[in-house]
């Protein structure tokens, strides 16, 4: 199974996402922002970083990259798509997911080991977890505060589309402590913390993040 990892100019965690996909037993394929070619991949990860320097708004320029047109079409057709951190911001800008990520409420970049509760394991990217399971993975961003209007929030809550919440103190002021959400179909997931940095306790706080990458493999095999 082939997982594409997109590199925009300014992407930072592309090698990490590829490593995580490989650890999970899939084959990582590098996708270039300027090539409207998905190279036959079965799923795509939009990794973290500062694509286009976060100029204008985080993710606002990347959503117009040639590769995104193909990705948006494929995701609308059911292809699994995971956006991590900056990737989540791109998904919101591309309207594949609702809401927006704004500046952390304390106005600092924040890097810490963050406890999350998995609240939906019915998506392509979370099926390896149990609902209510607590995991610890790194959180690292300056603009990670999830915001949306009340109607959207009610819909996300009502439809169970919040896939993970922060446990304990709210690190960035996200509404309802939202760390990640999914689309109605469950194939597109956006997550602010970084599961790709928690695949091996040697280099991360835990190996708790690996489940996101094994989930998609299981989903595809099924």
């Amino acid at each position: 199974m082939k997982v594409g990892v997109v590199t925009f100019p300014g992407t930072l965690d592309d090698r990490d996402a590829a490593r995580a996909a490989t650890y999970a037993g899939t084959t990582a394929i590098s996708l270039w922002h300027n090539d409207a070619d998905l190279k036959g991949v079965d799923a795509v990860i939009l990794p973290g970083g500062f694509s286009y320097g976060d100029y204008l708004r985080c993710g606002a320029i990347s959503r117009f990259a040639p590769v995104m047109e193909k990705i948006i079409d494929a995701a609308n057709g059911g292809m699994p798509l995971l956006g991590i951190c900056n990737g989540f911001q791109v998904l919101c800008e591309a309207h594949l997911l609702p809401g927006a990520l704004t500046r952390n409420h304390e106005l600092h970049f924040l890097c810490r080991d963050q406890k999350l509760e998995i609240t939906n394991n019915q998506t392509t990217w979370t099926s390896s977890y149990k609902v209510g399971q607590e995991i610890v993975i790194p959180l690292k961003n300056g603009e990670g505060s999830f915001q949306c209007d009340d109607a959207t929030l009610a819909a996300l809550e009502g439809e169970g589309r919040i896939i993970a919440r922060y446990v304990g103190e709210n690190p960035n002021g996200s509404r309802n402590k939202i760390a990640g959400i999914t689309n109605e179909r469950g194939n597109v997931v956006g997550l602010m913390p970084h599961p790709e940095h928690a695949i091996d306790p040697l280099t991360g706080p835990t190996a708790d993040g690996l489940g996101f990458f094994t989930s998609v493999l299981i989903a595809m095999v099924k």
Binding site: P9, G10, L12, D13, R15, D16, R19, N34, G48, G49, F50, Y52, G53, D54, Y55, H108, F109, L110, C111, R112, P138, K140, G142, H194, E196, H197, L202, T203, G204
Partner: protein, 743 residues
């Protein structure tokens, strides 16, 4: 201003030139005239003035720095030595590692965010220029008193700048220092270290060889930022009545640098360059003259081809501009098409601005008119050299004779109060407020970062080879004895590598001092260099490069002499290392090394306003035996934990160990009035399983290191001689300081 050409300079030899305003002394100006056989053109004057500034030419420090070469140990590990953009060290398995520290002190005082950000940007380009992929950064920082108003202005900006730039480049920040002292008010120190890795065959040098090869400028366009930044800012003492110098600070764009890194690495991977140089201090003046000096011939540059952000810039300004995120490469004509193609892929602006010639001159034209015609070595390497007067400063005998008078913790209540006060004092308090603004995870190879003794990164995922780096300075000791202070900082940095089990391999440095025109400061500098060179020779560690920052002084008050020493170590398998703390109860704690009444220069003395006394003497033979013990103990996995003792002594070390995994300890010590607060060098606390006691004893005997049993791990308190300090209370004291001070 009319264009000043070589022809005009010849025809009008007596034109008045503003050499003094550009920072040149009259004898330096006379020497330029002698070299050229005529007055310089205004463009030549601009080039000489920036390249002969203290920052670029090392004119006051050169005579001392040559000891690093003269006293150097014979080693095969050093692949590229002092003189290139950064030294390169062989770490085995075909890998080479390059690392270097640079200062960005003066710009960071004026414009904290941009000053610190471009400090990171500059050192990262130095590492990239060697052909290496940058893999981590560290930032030793020093500020005025934590509660001073100006510190509240400077510190948040500097931290945000280090983070803002480094995070956006995708470089993990794996450590550093945050130290406060009165002398740094008005003179904050922003030192930035970068480390990079490459294969031996990928090493690149700054040389323009091969007539007909092309000079290629790529990266950001040139703007008016940072013009004269180096000469004006880094080479003059701040003066409260001076004019505003804000425009001389460079402004960075980390996104452009990130793209430049990836673009350059792709170019290097295809072996498309003959030589390469980044544009940092002194911009194009530096890059063209250094590249031409490094080659065999001359160079011709058409300056009007340089892409500009501001079309009104004069040729002098273009030559002096320190616009960030630019590189200059020497490319064979047959590779230029592919070079341009890679730049286009990354949307990087690229321009051929000239070519290498078989002559001996650096010739620069502006729309066809010759404006620079100089021997490049006279600009880049043959600047003035000063043997500045030295004099042992008056303060030394007086402060060395002072008797230290501090409270001595003897009773349980006093011990508890001392531990809590040391835990909370800004120099020793938890630095998470700072480090949580830095990305330590990116690239996925970080094994250790703050608050560990050293930063450690994996460089090979298959073999698990890694490198560790620590930076240290003890300015209080350097103030009392600069010779010993430099040696002690070297020993501490090496020890901080060894506690994890890595083997120290090479040294870099960033020497921060006051004005070299003050004989007392110059003496401090000379003694520090002599101490470091002697220390490196004795420990068998080569100095791979470094940086000197003078003029860190406001009026007559110089900063404490602050030689920051960085030590790089290698570890053959990062999976096997000794962690800094214990995560279970029932382990035995031992102190390795000897404790004397070393209160002079200690944090406890500083907290009580006592700056005098005599610094300890470095015993580097014993330090090396301790390092051997630590490295051997890691290999045979004797230790469950090991943590260095430095500022704050045993009290600070135990505090950091128990708080790391929230496991307490019960400890009994003799002479707590000394043992708890002394900062005697060459000491480490280790935790071992009881079954390893014989192995530890044997290691200690083999290496002739004193061991003293302290107690055992476990519980929810740190208990010292019956003084029960709950971990909750200790954590509160340790972690509240920074948020309270800086929000």
């Amino acid at each position: 201003m009319a264009l000043d050409t070589v022809a005009i300079a010849k025809a009008n030899p007596d034109t008045n030139q503003p050499f003094a305003e550009l920072g040149l002394k009259s004898d330096e100006y006379a020497r330029i005239k002698e070299i050229l056989g005529r007055r310089p053109t205004s463009s030549e004057l601009a080039m000489y003035s920036v390249m002969w500034s203290e920052h670029c030419s090392y004119k006051s420090s050169k005579v001392h720095l040559k000891q690093f070469g003269e006293k150097a140990v014979k080693t095969d590990a050093l692949l590229v030595g002092i003189g290139e953009n950064a030294g390169v060290v062989d770490v085995g398995q075909g890998y080479a590692v390059t690392f270097k520290i640079e200062s960005h002190n003066h710009p960071s005082f004026i414009e904290p965010y941009q000053g610190a950000a471009t400090g990171i940007g500059g050192i990262v380009r130095d590492i990239l220029t060697m052909g290496a992929r940058p893999i981590a950064v560290m930032d030793p920082l020093r500020f005025g008193p934590a509660d001073a108003a100006d510190t509240r202005r400077v510190l948040p900006g500097i931290i945000a700048g280090v983070g803002g730039y480094g995070n956006c480049l995708g470089l993990p920040n794996i450590g550093g220092e945050v130290v406060f002292d009165e002398t740094y008010i008005g003179n904050p120190l922003v030192n930035a270290l970068c480390v990079g890795v490459m294969k031996h065959s990928d090493i690149k040098l700054a040389k323009a060889a091969g007539a007909g090869n092309l000079v290629v400028l790529y990266g950001a366009k040139t703007g008016g930022d940072g013009i004269g930044g180096v000469s004006v800012l880094a080479s003059e003492t701040f003066d409260a009545t001076g004019p505003a110098k804000r425009p001389a600070v460079q402004v960075g764009d980390p996104f452009v640098e990130k793209v430049l890194i990836e673009c350059s690495l792709e170019i290097f991977a295809e072996d498309l360059v003959v030589g390469i140089q980044d544009l940092g201090g002194a911009g194009l003046s530096c890059a063209t003259s250094e590249l031409a000096s490094g080659g065999s011939g001359g160079m011709k540059v058409e300056l009007d081809r340089v892409p500009l952000r501001d079309a009104t810039l004069s040729p002098e300004e273009i030559l002096m501009s320190e616009s960030q995120e630019r590189m200059c490469a020497i490319v064979e004509p047959k590779h230029i098409a592919r070079f341009l193609e890679i730049c286009e892929k990354w949307d990087v602006t690229v321009t051929v601005i000239g070519e290498v010639t078989d002559g001996e001159r650096l010739e620069i034209t502006w729309h066809g008119e010759l404006i620079v015609d100089v021997p490049p070595r006279t600009v880049a390497h043959e600047g003035p050299v000063y043997n500045r007067p030295l004099a042992k400063p008056d303060y030394l005998d007086r402060v060395n004779a002072e008797v230290i008078n501090v409270p001595r913790p003897e009773t349980a209540a006093q011990i508890k109060e001392t531990v809590l006060k040391l835990a909370a004092t800004p120099n020793l308090a938890d630095k998470s407020w700072v480090t949580s603004q830095y990305d330590r995870y990116v690239q996925g190879n970080t094994i250790q970062s703050q608050p560990d003794d050293s930063g450690m990164v994996r460089i090979d995922e298959r073999t698990h080879l890694g490198v560790a780096i620590a930076t240290d300075a003890n300015a209080n000791w350097s103030y009392l004895n600069p010779y010993e202070g430099a040696k002690l900082a070297l020993a501490e940095a090496a020890r901080n590598i060894a506690t994890a089990g890595a083997k120290p391999l090479a040294v870099t440095n960033c020497l921060n001092f006051g004005s070299p025109e003050d004989p007392g400061v110059m003496w401090q500098f000379a003694e520090s260099v002599r101490g470091l060179a002697d220390g490196c020779l004795e420990m068998g560690l080569p100095v791979t490069g470094g940086n000197v920052s003078f003029y860190n002084q406001t009026g007559a008050v110089a900063i404490l002499p602050t030689p920051v020493i960085g030590v790089l170590g290698v570890i053959d398998d990062v999976r096997i290392r000794t962690p800094m703390s214990f995560n279970r109860a029932g382990l035995e704690l031992y102190l390795l090394g000897d404790t004397a009444d070393d209160i002079a220069g200690s944090e406890w003395a500083y907290m009580h306003g006592q700056r005098g006394g005599k610094a300890p003497t470095a015993d580097l033979q014993r330090e090396m035996r301790l390092i051997n013990l630590l490295v051997a103990g890691r290999t045979s996995q004797v230790f469950s934990a090991a943590h260095d003792l430095s500022q704050g002594g045993l009290s600070a070390t135990l505090t950091e160990m128990v708080l790391r995994h929230n496991i307490g300890a019960v400890v009994e010590i003799e002479n707590p009035g000394i043992t708890l607060i002394s900062e005697s060098p060459g000491r480490v606390v280790v935790a071992i399983k009881p079954a390893q006691a014989a192995a530890l004893t044997s290691l200690a005997e083999q290496n002739k290191i004193t061991i003293t049993k302290l107690g055992t791990t476990g519980g929810t308190s740190l208990v010292i001689n019956g003084a029960d300090i709950s971990l909750t209370e200790l954590r509160k004291a340790h972690s509240e300081t920074f948020p309270k001070l800086f929000g």
